[in-house]
C-alpha cells in the first residue's frame, strides 16, 4: 500500500529482517553463511567509505589518497556485486535484525 508522492531512480525498500537462524540445510547453508559474511563486509565497507568521505570533506586527504581510496572502494564494490550475484543475494539481503537495537545496516 505504498503511496509514492515523488520518486527518481531506484531507492531500495527497507530491508526485510534476516532470518534469526542460519539454515543448516545442505543446499542453503553455504548461501546463509555467505549472506552473514557479506553483511559484515558490507558494514565495514560502508563505515570506511563514510569515514573517507568525511575526511575528504574536511580536507585532510591528499589528492593521491583520494584517488587510491576511491579506486579501492570501486574495486570492493565491484567484487561485492560479483559475490552477491554468485550467491544470488540482493542488496536488501545484506542486513541483520538486531531485535530491539534495530537493524545492523
Amino acid at each position: 500500500m505504498t503511496r509514492v508522492l515523488a520518486a527518481q531512480g531506484e531507492v531500495p525498500v527497507p530491508a526485510p529482517a534476516m532470518p534469526r537462524r542460519v539454515s543448516v540445510d545442505s543446499e542453503t547453508v553455504e548461501r546463509g553463511l555467505a549472506q552473514l559474511v557479506l553483511t559484515l563486509v558490507e558494514l565495514l565497507r560502508q563505515l570506511m567509505e563514510r569515514q573517507a568521505l568525511r575526511r575528504m570533506d574536511a580536507g585532510t586527504l591528499t589528492d593521491d589518497e583520494v584517488e587510491r581510496l576511491g579506486d579501492t572502494f570501486m574495486k570492493l564494490a565491484d567484487r561485492m556485486d560479483e559475490l552477491k550475484e554468485h550467491f544470488r543475494l540482493r542488496d536488501e539481503d545484506l542486513n541483520l535484525d538486531l531485535g530491539p537495537l534495530g537493524r545492523l545496516l
Partner: protein
C-alpha cells in the same frame, strides 16, 4: 471479549468498521476485536490505523499486539497517561507523516577521484535536501540506514503537496541522487511514547 488497541486519536469524525472508541477526556482510545498474531493480522492492524488518518484530526498509532481483556482494563491502563497522550496528540494535530529515502545513484566508476567526488556531492546534496525539508516540517526523525538519507517528517496536511513537489524538484536538480517520498502515513515515527 479481548480487544486490541489500534491508536489514540482526537477529533474523531468516524471509525473504521468493527471499531469502537473509549473516550477519555479529549483522547479517544480506538480499539477492535483482537485477532491473531499472523502477518495478515499485523497488516490489518496497519490498515485500520491508516484509515483513521482520514477520519480523525490527530492520530497516535499504537504498535501491533497491545491487547486488553476488556474495555475497563484499557481505560485503567490509559488513564494515568492521559495528559501525556493529550500533549502528544496536540503535537501531531493536523499533521501526517511523510517518508523520504535517498540513495546514491549508480556511481561514476571512471577513476577513484571521480568516484569519491561523486559520493561527496551526493552526500552534501542529501544533507541540503534534509535542511530544506525540515523548514517545511513540524518535526523530523532521521533513521540509521545504509542509505544516504532515511527520514520521516511530520507535515501539516495542507503542506503535503508542496513538500512532495519540493522533493521531486530537488531530484530533477540532482541526478546524482535516487530518491523517493511516500505518504501520507499515520505519524508512527512520532508516537513512541504512545506505544
Amino acid at each position: 471479549m479481548v480487544i486490541e488497541l489500534y491508536a489514540f486519536a482526537c477529533g474523531v469524525r468516524d471509525l473504521p468498521e468493527n471499531c469502537g472508541a473509549a473516550q477519555l477526556g479529549h483522547v479517544a482510545a480506538v480499539f477492535g476485536p483482537a485477532g491473531g498474531d499472523t502477518r495478515d493480522d499485523a497488516i490489518r492492524h496497519g490498515l485500520v490505523v491508516q484509515a483513521l488518518v482520514d477520519m480523525c484530526a490527530a492520530v497516535l498509532p499504537v504498535r501491533f499486539g497491545e491487547r486488553f481483556t476488556e474495555v475497563t482494563a484499557l481505560v485503567d491502563a490509559v488513564t494515568p497517561r492521559l495528559h501525556e497522550l493529550e500533549d502528544r496528540l496536540a503535537a501531531v494535530d493536523g499533521c501526517v507523516e511523510l517518508a523520504v529515502r535517498i540513495a546514491r545513484a549508480a556511481p561514476v566508476r571512471s577513476d577513484g577521484t571521480a568516484y569519491m567526488q561523486a559520493g561527496l556531492q551526493a552526500s552534501r546534496a542529501a544533507t541540503t535536501l534534509h535542511a530544506l525539508l525540515q523548514e517545511r516540517a513540524r518535526a523530523a526523525v532521521v533513521a540509521q540506514s545504509p542509505l544516504l538519507h532515511d527520514a520521516c517528517y511530520l507535515v501539516a496536511r495542507g503542506d503535503v503537496d508542496d513538500f512532495a513537489h519540493r522533493v521531486a524538484a530537488y531530484g530533477v536538480e540532482h541526478p546524482e541522487l535516487d530518491l523517493v517520498c511516500t505518504g501520507p502515513w499515520a505519524p508512527a515515527s512520532f508516537a513512541e511514547a504512545a506505544a
